[in-house]
């Protein structure tokens, strides 16, 4: 069994071209290693990459946990997780953070009663799946508009949520952060940090109102149908990426990280169950 080309899908909240640029080194290495033409694709949203994996037009991608669950639920035979990113502190989790404008007087979920709540993308783990399960556990009510919150909206993505909260378009929203570092810097990494770095929001104007339990980082997945040697080669390439080329690893992992560790499907069973719960 041979492949004629290898296609890597990239998602995440950056400029499409920036994403392609920071993964270019990975592409070059893969091309060299596999000996076939390797291409990068940066579709507009999570769904684009997932559809590519399902349809067999994308061979490898770094998915979010929820995205992996969606792929698995659509077709269990489509992809398999190989590696997960390990943070500098050795963990492989991050958090969903609820936040609101300071001047709105909201400091907790309790204050959000009857207010407008904003999710990000429906396929995002921290932007929708986990908060949509954990928040009702705290409030004791469902996430339907008008039940506890006055209205529940999807803003479309982490960046849009931050801006929507900043504008007052929604009263509170959720986004992701690594939970490390200081609030006023927007944590060490995550969507808030990027917004701060861009000068988009002033963390003094925002308050944290909620934090989830740790969420497992999404896996790097490859298509199951790929030849075994391709899977092995790519796993090896990623696993040694940090030691081979630190700069490249920084780009691929979107920041500082310790490296990779192997992971299997079982680690995401919880997320899959959660996702099933949210389907009708």
């Amino acid at each position: 069994q041979e492949i004629t080309e290898f296609r890597i899908g990239i998602l995440g909240g950056e400029n499409a071209q920036d994403r392609l640029n920071s993964n270019e080194c990975l592409r070059e290495k893969a091309e060299e290693l596999l000996g076939v033409e390797t291409k990068l694709f940066a579709p507009a949203d999570y769904n684009g990459v997932i559809q590519g994996l399902l349809g067999g037009t994308i061979d490898m991608a770094w998915l979010g946990a929820s995205g992996y669950a969606k792929t698995y639920l659509s077709d269990p035979e489509a992809v398999e997780p190989i590696l997960v990113k390990v943070n500098n502190d050795g963990g492989y989790g991050y958090y969903s953070i609820g936040f609101a404008r300071k001047d709105s007087g909201i400091t907790s979920l309790a204050d959000m009663k009857g207010k407008v709540f904003g999710f990000g993308d429906p396929n995002s783990t921290s932007g929708f799946l986990i908060p949509s399960i954990e928040i009702p556990q705290e409030t004791g009510a469902s996430m339907t508009s008008g039940d506890y919150f006055g209205e529940v909206k999807f803003t479309g993505g982490h960046e849009q949520t931050i801006v929507a909260v900043g504008n007052g378009e929604v009263d509170g929203g959720v986004t992701w952060a690594d939970g490390l570092g200081a609030w006023e810097d927007g944590f060490n990494s995550g969507a808030l940090r990027k917004a701060v770095d861009a000068g988009l929001v002033d963390m003094n104007d925002l308050v944290q109102i909620w934090q989830s339990k740790p969420i497992p980082e999404g896996p790097f997945v490859v298509r199951k149908a790929l030849p075994a040697d391709v899977k092995v080669k790519m796993t090896g390439l990623l696993a040694s990426l940090k030691s081979m080329d630190e700069e490249c690893a920084y780009g691929v992992l979107q920041g500082d990280a310790k490296g990779f560790m192997p992971i299997t499907h079982d680690a995401y069973q919880v997320i899959i169950e959660a996702r099933k719960l949210k389907s009708n």
Binding site: F41, D45, I50, G52, G56, K70, D121, P122, F154
Partner: protein, 293 residues
């Protein structure tokens, strides 16, 4: 049979000229054909190459997605009526965006058209300016204006409405101006001679002439705008597009919702198409179509 015919030399010249013309036509036609075919081939090759999945493999999977959606929708078909009712308000919002944008765009387009038509313009020297304004309004895709406005005004129907209205004003401005160019100037001059001002001349002298055509074009635009409004919802501007995107991108588990929304949208688009088709035929062919109808 002599008197009508050309001389022998003349005939030879005609033959030669015609053969040369045919040859030239063939050469140009051939070049054009080769150019077109090679452009298509090269373009197709490039697109295929830059696409993740290939053209040849793709066909086998073309029904995968619809099958996935339909299977789930059929499984849960009992919930369909509930979904239809649930998403109706979003559909109404989408229709409202389209209707309001068409209305505002048509008003803007009328003004732009009157200002940029020779013989009618209030400032004849500024005709090129208003033409360029219409061109630019037309050239900017709705999505651009909508996304920028969402950043400033926040999500919801208003940015979409403004974006579509601007584009509509440009597009209708051009079409209207073509219609107005053919309007008779006599009534306008007649009104001018009584001391009527510009607004009166346009409203009483031009609009009655071009009205039916304007309305017909505006209806056509309304059809287009419903689609545009749905698409803008897809990128964040509310309405049925927003619901569709959420259902579709959630995927498996909510495909029944996606199917319901899709059904609503499809039926609406087809229905509006048909109704406006009839209305437009009536408007442009006038009474004749009314008789045969």
């Amino acid at each position: 049979m002599t008197d009508l015919t050309a001389g022998q030399g003349e005939l030879a010249r005609i033959r030669e000229d015609y053969t040369a013309l045919t040859r030239r036509k063939r050469v140009y036609g051939g070049i054009l054909l080769i150019l077109f075919v090679s452009l298509m081939a090269a373009g197709f090759h490039t697109a295929d190459d830059r696409n993740a999945g290939g053209f040849v493999d793709g066909w086998r999977r073309i029904l995968d997605y619809p099958a996935e959606v339909l299977t789930e929708a059929l499984e849960k078909s009992a919930q369909l009526p509930g979904h239809l009712v649930h998403f109706l308000p979003a559909l109404v919002e989408t229709l409202n965006i389209a209707a309001a944008a068409t209305l505002l765009g048509a008003l803007g387009g009328t003004v732009l058209a009157l200002l940029s038509t020779r013989g009618l313009a209030y400032w004849p020297r500024l005709i090129p300016l208003f033409r360029r304004i219409a061109d630019i309004c037309r050239a900017v895709p709705e999505i651009v204006i909508a996304l920028v406005l969402i950043f400033v005004l926040g999500g919801g129907p208003v940015p979409a409405m403004i974006a579509i209205a601007i584009h509509t004003a440009g597009a209708l401005g051009k079409l209207f101006s073509e219609v107005a160019e053919n309007a008779s100037l006599k009534p306008v001059e007649g009104l001018e001679s009584t001391g009527a001002n510009w607004a009166q001349r346009m409203y009483l002298g031009v609009i009655p002439q071009v009205g039916p055509n304007f309305v017909s074009y505006a209806l056509l635009r309304f059809e287009i705008n419903i689609r545009a409004s749905a698409i803008l919802g897809f990128v964040g501007a509310g309405g049925i597009g927003y619901e569709l995107r959420n259902a579709m991108s959630w995927g498996q588990g909510r495909y029944d919702e996606a199917a319901a929304i899709f059904l609503l949208l499809f039926v609406t688009i087809v229905a509006v198409d048909q109704i406006s088709d009839r209305l437009r035929a009536r408007l442009t062919h006038g009474a004749r179509a009314g008789v045969t109808a």
